[in-house]
């Protein structure tokens, strides 16, 4: 039985990986979890400079969902390369480094340095605020998004570059097409939806910054439909992410065309979930007489859209 997929040149032994920001740097759980069984690791977002992140509360629960505003806390590029990357690369599975910046030049620096370090792949998080545009997210404007892709692609050659998008206040199809045009090797869909929650008893935002990112099972049907639609508009592979909670909800993404998927929030509830998904997927394939997982990919797309 084959679970291996080719993701823009990355060979993953299975299509199930962690989502950025939901598995720290990928090395924390060490002896507690056989991480090497995952298809790949995606690191938390790395910026040029260290960021301390947002004050609490950083987390609020909503019905079947989670609002977070971690504030992109991370140790910064230098300490990442020194302390984390050296350990990460010994795990033996592909590592996708998620990057973000406050301005265009940040992305250039990150791409350049991570190319030097020889990381396997990059994932550009475009749901981060562009300080020069008053905090508007890079991904909310297709021109700006495309430019970031160009910049990163120019500097980073050691592996594929994925672009991670969110559908907030923008037509995500336009952005996706522009990123493809500018050379993106793949798309990661979707980042969190913008959301909010208020503690009416105390008349305060549950998360002090007000807006936060919504993830978890609540958003699964939305993410799935976005992957379904964007698949019909681009040729580059898609990584599906959003609300996966079991093997079936993961396979749904593959069926609408995703080449691989990421699991985020539900890792918090069940750290074993990726291992369980791998096992249950094998069981499913056995039951359905499917010898290669690639047979599932895109099977819910009508033929004219198939790439």
């Amino acid at each position: 039985m084959n679970l291996e997929v080719d993701l823009a040149g990355l060979r993953l032994k299975n299509p199930f990986m962690v989502a950025s920001g939901t598995f720290a740097y990928g090395i924390e759980l060490g002896i507690h979890l056989p991480v090497e069984k995952f298809g790949a690791i995606v690191t938390k977002g790395i910026s040029v400079n260290e960021r301390e992140g947002n004050p609490p509360e950083r987390i609020a629960e909503t019905p079947c969902g989670l609002l977070n505003s971690i504030g992109l806390e991370n140790v910064g590029l230098k300490r990442f390369l020194k302390g984390k990357w050296s350990k990460l690369k010994t795990i033996g599975i592909p590592v996708i480094v998620n990057i973000f910046g406050e301005k265009e030049e940040d992305f250039e620096v990150l791409a350049e340095e991570l190319e030097k370090a020889g990381v396997d792949a990059l994932e550009i998080n475009l749901s981060c605020p562009n300080v020069k545009k008053g905090g508007m997210q890079f991904g909310q404007n297709s021109k700006i998004a495309g430019r970031i892709v160009e910049i990163v692609k120019k500097k980073f050659k050691s592996g594929p570059v994925f672009v991670k998008l969110a559908p907030n206040f923008v037509n995500i199809i336009d952005v996706a097409k522009e990123c493809e045009k500018k050379g993106a090797d793949g798309l990661t869909l979707i980042n969190t939806l913008m959301g909010m929650a208020i503690d009416v008893e105390n008349k305060r935002f549950k998360i002090p910054s007000g807006v936060a990112g919504l993830s978890g099972p609540a958003i699964h049907p939305v993410a799935l439909y976005i992957v379904y639609k964007v698949y019909q508009e681009v040729k580059i592979p898609i990584i599906g992410v959003g609300g996966i909670y079991d093997y079936a909800s993961a396979l749904e993404f593959l069926m609408v065309g995703a080449k691989a998927v990421q699991i985020g929030t539900m890792l918090f509830v069940n750290p074993q979930i990726i291992l369980e998904i791998i096992d249950k997927t094998k069981e499913y394939m056995r039951r359905k007489n499917i010898s290669d997982i690639n047979q599932i990919i895109g099977c819910m797309q009508i033929r004219k859209y198939r790439r």
């Binding site: 507690h32 004050p55 609490p56 950083r58 806390e73």
Partner: protein
């Protein structure tokens, strides 16, 4: 790199008992061998209060007591999760733990003063019970008198109990911080010769900030998404420094000198 003493395989516990203790609190007794065998005082267990994804995230609860494959929790009915737990009288329950760093071994030459508000008493009682501590003092503050049962359980773990109630129905009438000041004045508690362990509502902790920062430990109970160090959700501000600790893996116990309340 050293890994924390945690256990990341969810365990299906069996609810043995679920008893109302009055004052909005209840005692949950669960059989869960794998956790009971491993847990040390100060650690917590993250409970999936019911099947499905609402509530989505687990709720962390300090272990109140563990013996012979059984765990006890002392829980207050606060919101969605605890309300559902309160109603669960029997059946399977999905638990993850133990999580968090255990409290440090108590020093043999110093008084151990534990100060608790409400269910904050849970980890502190387990601590007192687990270690044979030569001299300990238990100070407990609540809105109203603890139930006879809870009080008798406190007596099992400590001979030196002081209680404050806001309504004056038992012990000292007033806040626990006032009681602590009083006890320091009357020399029942000698800060220079004691180490302090605090656990309770945020307001209570803040009101006790006058205790010696170097000799005072605080067990934090902020909102957690994962409970084992990967989400960065449980941030606690470092004192006089940039950045945050993760309560779940670097705590839940911190020295007061290291964190901002």
């Amino acid at each position: 790199m050293t890994w924390p003493e945690i256990y990341l395989n969810p365990v299906q516990g069996e609810i043995l008992n679920n008893i109302d203790l009055g004052d909005g609190m209840f005692q949950l007794v669960v059989s869960a061998q794998e956790i009971a065998d491993r847990v040390k005082p100060g650690q917590f267990v993250s409970i999936k209060v019911q099947e499905g994804f609402h509530p989505l995230i687990r709720r962390p609860y300090s272990v109140w007591n563990a013996e012979e494959g059984t765990l006890e929790f002392l829980i207050k009915v606060v919101g969605t999760g605890s309300k559902i737990l309160y109603g669960r009288k029997r059946g399977k329950i999905d638990m993850l733990g133990p999580l968090g760093k255990p409290f440090p071994e108590p020093p043999y030459d110093t008084d151990v003063v534990v100060i608790a508000g409400g269910t904050g008493i849970a980890p502190l009682m387990f601590y007192l019970k687990y270690h044979s501590i030569p001299k300990s003092i238990l100070i407990y503050g609540a809105k109203t008198s603890p139930s006879d049962y809870l009080y008798s359980r406190m007596q099992e773990v400590c001979d030196n109990i002081f209680i404050s109630t806001e309504d004056g129905s038992f012990g000292y009438k007033g806040l626990v911080s006032e009681l602590v000041e009083e006890l320091i004045k009357t020399k029942e508690v000698v800060p220079e010769k004691s180490i302090f362990f605090l656990c309770g509502p945020h307001g209570m902790l803040k009101s006790l900030d006058f205790l010696p920062h170097e000799r005072t430990y605080v067990s934090m109970e902020g909102v957690m998404a994962c409970g084992f160090g990967i989400c960065m959700g449980c941030a606690v501000k470092k004192r006089n420094k940039k950045g945050y600790f993760r309560t779940c893996v670097e705590g839940p116990l911190f020295k007061l000198k290291d964190i901002e309340l």
